[in-house]
Amino acid sequence: MYTVTVEEASLQFAEVLRHTRTGEEVVLTENSLPIAKLVPLSPQSEISAKDAKRDDIAYALGIAVARGDISPDTALLAREAWKEIERSLSFLLPPIVSTVENAQVMFSWDKNEHHLVIEVFPNRSVELFYSNRNVHSPWEYDYEVGSLIPTEVINNIQVLWEK
């Protein structure tokens, strides 16, 4: 597998971001692909808060790939899964992105006693887990990348999060 250092990855990523934000031409080499494939390449004149959030996710995934923590395929899958998470749970602040070596990508949120984790596994399964630090009543919902998160699950999280 092609790998780059974190510094190289950051540079590549910065170049790709510059392209997405300004539309300036960026020369992507074959070696750029593991990182470059993670971010959208359509030119944008302005970057919105939502775009910034997406860029943060892509940046973190790019670093994880560059470090060899996860494969480019897993990173791409996580980005695909993120689209649905972002659509359905748009009331949440940007998540913390982390990875388990050679395994899943994890998006996590904490707000006071509330704890929410969504894990994306290389086999396309997604596991959503909610836990309350004050009350022992964890619950979970499993689905697959490409499926929609049910309205009932979204509403449950929203009610808890906005208490």
Binding site: R67, S98, A103, H115, V117, E140
Partner: protein, 145 residues
């Protein structure tokens, strides 16, 4: 000594490599495929009083990727349980001898066991356990120099 429990008063170090936010997450206490296949099926930690931080980084490899470490008390780890009543010890910290490694500090290698979910136990109970140990780590988190 290999596989034997550490004293409850010992502190262990878990080296962490956050992607960017400098925050410990449940991922830091999730077994990787390599951890699951390791003899102890455990997460690597280092006894604070036997392995200097710098040496632990060398043992882990790719030291530049680590930017944080958590100090966890062994007794505190053992108090974490999947059920409140009655609490049962699920997690332990045991010595994990490094094969064919005689370098100074190697004797401090240990593993947090009990994070691998047994068949038939609901996975959300183990996710809750993982959340608890991550919270414990969050209380004693340090940046690497």
């Amino acid at each position: 000594m290999h596989g034997e429990p550490l004293d409850a008063l010992e502190n262990v170090i878990r080296l962490l490599k956050p992607l960017r936010d400098g925050i410990v997450t449940d991922a830091d206490f999730t077994l990787s495929p390599a951890d699951e296949f390791s003899p102890l099926q455990s997460l690597s930690v280092w006894a604070e009083n036997r392995t200097p931080l710098a040496q632990a980084l060398v043992f882990m490899g790719k030291p530049e990727t680590y930017s944080l470490y958590a100090v966890l008390n062994v007794g505190d780890i053992r108090t974490l349980s999947i059920e409140k009543e009655p609490p049962q010890m699920v997690l332990d910290v045991v010595w994990g001898k490094l094969e064919n490694d005689n370098r100074a500090g190697a004797e401090g290698h240990a593993g947090i066991t009990g994070l691998l979910r047994p068949t038939g136990i609901p996975k959300l109970l183990y996710k809750e356990l993982r959340r608890k140990i991550a919270d414990l780590a969050r209380n004693n988190l340090h940046s690497l120099p």
